[in-house]
Homo-oligomer: 351 residues x 2
Amino acid sequence: MVLPKVPRLTARRELVLKLVIQEYVRTALPVASEALVQNYALGVSSATVRNDLAALEELGLLYHPHTSAGRIPTDQGYRYFVEHLMEWHPLPAEEQRMIRHQFYQVRTDMEEWIRLAASALARLSRSAAVVTPARSLRSRFKHLELLSVHDTRVLLVLIFQDGTIRQHMLTLSEALSQEELSRMAGRMNTRLAGLDASGAAGQVSEEWNVLERQILNLVVSTMQQLDRWEWEEIARDGALETLEQPEFASSDQARRFLEILEQGRFLLEMLAQALQRSGVQVIIGGESQREEMRDYSLILSRYGLVGRQEGVLGVLGPTRMPYPRSISAVRFIARTLSELLEGLHGEPSAR
Amino acid sequence: MVLPKVPRLTARRELVLKLVIQEYVRTALPVASEALVQNYALGVSSATVRNDLAALEELGLLYHPHTSAGRIPTDQGYRYFVEHLMEWHPLPAEEQRMIRHQFYQVRTDMEEWIRLAASALARLSRSAAVVTPARSLRSRFKHLELLSVHDTRVLLVLIFQDGTIRQHMLTLSEALSQEELSRMAGRMNTRLAGLDASGAAGQVSEEWNVLERQILNLVVSTMQQLDRWEWEEIARDGALETLEQPEFASSDQARRFLEILEQGRFLLEMLAQALQRSGVQVIIGGESQREEMRDYSLILSRYGLVGRQEGVLGVLGPTRMPYPRSISAVRFIARTLSELLEGLHGEPSAR
DNA sequence: GATTAGCACTCTCATAATGAGAGTGCTAAT
DNA sequence: ATTAGCACTCTCATTATGAGAGTGCTAATC
């Protein structure tokens, strides 16, 4: 399905489209010609507005649920709005300051940060927010630790250069003292330092004993899993508040929305895709070609340090969402997180 | 509100009550006298059943939405059922085997376990499941690690005896080499080994330098936080499936349910409470004296190694839930997790 | 005394009928 | 190009209606 390119509209028609969207986003009700001339000083009569509305409908930017109803924007209508009509207003300085402050209050910890980012994003955009942690695209080994827990139980802690931590419990065939474990860990640390997944895989050889090889293999498979970008710990927020929107009046609709947000493969695919691109991406309703996304829009941005430590964040809500607000919010939180990471490493951030 | 003690019923009335509950749980529709005599060989006419139904209603075990409707169980009706009428059937051996198998498949890792437990519990009970990790009631220090990340950035990894791991990022006022950090960590490890929160607090003194004191304080506050039993990482599952039940037809009801499950203080309080008691606890609807819980029931059990490593799990669903099934499921998963932990430590498990 | 057939009674729910109101689209005039 | 005017269409809330469900009661029966 290729959408016909919509030609640029006359000034008044652009205004009418913009006002229809504004009103519809605010009220969730179809917008009538009379309502527009009454609420805004358009300088023309409702009949003229009706002509414009009919023209905008002709172009596929608006539609009509039935004869005697007002107009509702189509996906293409929102698209035109986002491309051409949206007024750009960054968040109020005061609000920016407050949110930055919150980030600096919280302890320096990726989990804490993405949680806070999701919360702020949800509040700002009034939609459901999603934030992945920022991770390296290619994980590099930093350190491992072997800790005797009980008899033959050993806790393996893996730490990677981007700060990611993973743990595994191991069962040994025979008990080893903490000293032996530490020596073993020391040898492996020296050999693995700074290696990526394939480098680590190259270290698996006969020179190690059975247990050591088992551990090395675990290291390798963990790194491969990280590199496959399997985000288990995505932070989400604002889902329940979003359900208060009238489009979720029936619980069917609510459930479909939550499914996309919490368990669908689709969202993960979109996040992975967004990681490849710079700037804020806006996917409106059916534009994603996914039936289940028909009524929802997604606004995504990657953030972090380009090539070093990157993540994705965004919001999901009904197509009837306050795009200017949401886009500003996504952009702002992405920038803020990038700056925080920059502060951690002293490198330029990815936009 | 003290409920009047319901005297023991005659055999037939017990049967009628049981059948009403069975039917109502199955169909979510009020149960009529005629329906009972038709579906079950009661040996009496519908008029007699009507008399029994009236008597059960008199006792407060059933009610009537309106004159020409069938009967629906009250909270007290369910309570009587759970106390006296419920047939005890453990899960089929085959199903038990399969679930145990899944646990042994998965790697030995608390997060993985509670996730799997929540998933199995949700599937078995057909309600929403909640599982907290198993942790020690009094955390004891095991090990800390200081890893230089970048210049003045240091990652502090804390490991406790129950396997809990916590991490913090620190900013130093001046850069330190990894060797210095390791020496520092070594000194602290020796002094903190095996201490609880107050023991660790006792180690904070002038003999340490500023940075070391900062770290020690962080250790202490982390341990205190753990001991305050703040479960951040509760595993949940089955919420969306549960919303398919007819009681959640309007999204208002769906939202209220999700609020209890995902952000309410109430659930956390109940979990904390359940940690104090042994056995499976069943809280039916308004019994909890909480308005928001009026339409839902909660089945909880603690699990783990008594005094050593304990957690709580359970299910939340509409009062119209299959109690025998849910209770069996909670009991079984609690036992299974306890046995897994037992296997890890070789100690008796808490029931 | 417990059980039952019979039946009047009540309440719900689905369906249809109705009409007001909303908002358009068109025509003809400016 | 704009506009006043108006017929037309469709929705939605309201009301009426009647079938059906299921009870509760009464009086007869075991």
